[in-house]
């Protein structure tokens, strides 16, 4: 079968909407267009039914009660609501004062967690940003060591979006429950790919997003625990009092129906999909490491998502590498791919040197990835690295036995 190019290996950025999801959504654009808050006619009831089914499907995927699901516009909003909303309620002092309480997060979280935390810092809260080990993992011991008597909230992502490394979430959840500290996890990359049980794992608040799980963009959810303990949040968006008053605004019925369907499909297909993707990811990692010298898989070798790998190829720069692998859509930790001209703060966070951070590719696989695509990608990456190393002054120095880190470079 002929390959369709370019190959999409950027599923950690976003996924294609599953055709079954699209099909489930279609009626809600047209025939079933009602406002789910319209309580007095068929149009409203139909939409409400669609939303409530989605609520059940979403809750089932994470082992929650449907009443504990708040629909949002995506993981960014869910994170903002969880972090700012909890900080406001559990604060130790009123707004405008200092000493409002202590929050624990980590330096390699997504910006949608870091930036809300930084805002709270400016508003009288203290935040500790934990640094992971060189394997990229945040452990329960690290969190335990940072907890203070005034700690009110811990926010640690379940799995990291750039390196795919999984943190010790069940252990951190248990720790927080024992200490009666609210625990939020950004599970955007985790949910739908790995079995999730918010009861067993002591999660209070959990964010995820539709477009990472073969659902539509612009819709997500926040799990808000209702019992043992009941978690309260201060709303960010005020208005008609939708979603138990935590998120006002007419519901995005079409998106929510698609989100629910996407959750249901993930629940059914996760196990099979995981097995397949783990095999493909391992093949990528082992073949690329075997065929290209000075290659490093970033982050813990085992504690990682099935479908995400992050590999540094010494002596070649990431953006040029992506240009070389023109038939593979993927991403890089190289500075050149970001507006900031800084290499990935995530890779830096786990102590990957700047040079290797510049040399990294993130490859993330998905529901429709085939073995032919994996094989093709391996060949194209090997060829691109060889092409670039022929041009690389750093590779020459390496072959001459000169240690690049010992050279005094004239940085700009």
């Amino acid at each position: 079968m002929a390959l369709k190019l370019p190959i999409y290996f950027d599923h950690a950025a976003t996924t294609r909407c599953d055709p079954r999801v699209v099909e489930a959504m279609l009626p809600y654009f047209s025939d079933k267009f009602g406002n789910s808050s319209s309580r007095n006619h068929k149009f409203g009831w139909e939409s409400e039914d669609g939303v409530e089914l989605a609520r059940e499907q979403s809750a089932a995927l994470i082992g929650a009660n449907p009443k504990e699901i708040i629909f949002t516009s995506g993981a960014t909003e869910s994170n903002n609501l969880a972090i700012k909303g909890a900080a406001e309620i559990y604060a130790k002092a009123p707004a405008g004062q200092t000493g409002r309480g202590h929050i624990i997060s980590a330096i390699h979280e997504h910006k949608a967690v870091l930036d809300p935390c930084k805002r709270l810092q400016r508003e009288g809260f203290e935040v500790t940003f934990l640094a992971p080990g060189t394997d990229g993992v945040i452990t329960a011991d690290m969190v335990a060591a940072a907890i203070r008597p005034d700690t009110i909230l811990v926010s640690i992502m379940w799995a990291n979006n750039e390196i795919g490394v999984i943190n010790e979430i069940p252990q951190i959840g248990k720790l927080c429950h024992d200490k009666e500290i609210v625990f939020h996890t950004d599970a955007t990359q985790w949910v739908g790919k790995m079995p999730t049980d918010v009861e067993r794992d002591h999660i209070d608040l959990l964010s995820w997003s539709g477009h990472k799980i073969y659902g539509p963009k612009g819709v997500g959810a926040l799990f808000v625990r209702r019992r043992k303990p009941r978690i309260r949040l201060e709303a960010i968006i005020d208005g008609g009092g939708h979603e138990r008053g935590m998120r006002s605004g007419t519901l995005n019925v079409t998106g929510i129906v698609g989100f629910g369907k996407a959750c249901e499909l993930c629940q059914h297909e996760m196990e099979h999909e995981r097995e397949r993707l783990v095999k493909f990811r391992r093949k990528l990692e082992t073949e690329l490491s075997r065929r290209i010298e000075v290659t490093q898989v970033n982050g813990h070798a085992e504690k990682r998502l099935p479908h995400v790998t992050n590999i540094s190829f010494g002596f070649v720069e990431g953006e040029s590498l992506m240009m070389g692998v023109k038939d593979i859509a993927c991403s890089s930790g190289s500075a050149c791919t970001s507006a900031s001209l800084e290499p990935s703060y995530v890779l830096k966070g786990l102590g990957v040197g700047d040079e290797l951070a510049h040399s990294s590719l993130r490859l993330s696989l998905g529901r429709w990835t085939t073995e032919e695509e994996v094989d093709f990608a391996i060949e194209q990456i090997v060829a691109a690295v060889e092409h670039l190393r022929l041009m690389s002054p750093l590779f020459d120095l390496h072959k001459e036995g000169i240690d690049i880190s010992k050279i005094q470079w004239q940085a700009h």
Binding site: E317, A339, E400, I407, W409
Partner: protein, 143 residues
């Protein structure tokens, strides 16, 4: 961000990739000027070797580059422009000409600056080896 056709062409078919010997070899050669600018942790390193004849004309030029596609294209283009120019003429090459030729977007201007710097550094190295006054604006990396 889309690359201009010229950048893609230089990237896929870089001109004059190579060197006139290992770093230890060229350090000893008076007819070769070496410019190495940038730093691995910044994501760009350009290495330029120029071979200058007795009339002071750049007979040949070779580059190596660790950097993005625009950096590779800038250094590849620089080697094309250098060949056949006298050392003095070579010093008139400006980064803005490279920007224009390759249609580099604003975020890639530093690539052209690096290419200009590598020319200046290679010429300074050549002049220093031959007892001429070195250009003051050098950025040569030192071992």
């Amino acid at each position: 961000m889309a690359y201009s056709d010229k950048v893609v062409d230089h990237f896929q078919h870089p001109r004059n990739v190579g060197s006139f010997g290992t770093s230890t070899d060229v350090a000893k050669r008076n007819d070769v000027g070496v410019g190495i600018v940038g730093a691995p942790e910044c994501g760009d390193v350009m290495q330029l070797h120029i071979k200058v004849n007795e009339q002071g004309v750049i007979e040949d030029a070779k580059f190596k580059c660790f950097g993005c596609g625009s950096a590779i294209a800038s250094s590849s283009l620089a080697t094309e422009w250098l060949k056949g120019k006298s050392v003095d003429e070579a010093l008139t090459i400006k980064n803005t000409q490279i920007v224009e030729e390759l249609s580099l977007p604003p975020v890639k201007i530093h690539c052209s600056v690096l290419a200009e710097d590598s020319i200046r550094a290679a010429i300074a190295d050549y002049r220093k080896k031959n007892g001429m006054v070195a250009d003051s604006a050098t950025h040569a990396a030192t071992h």
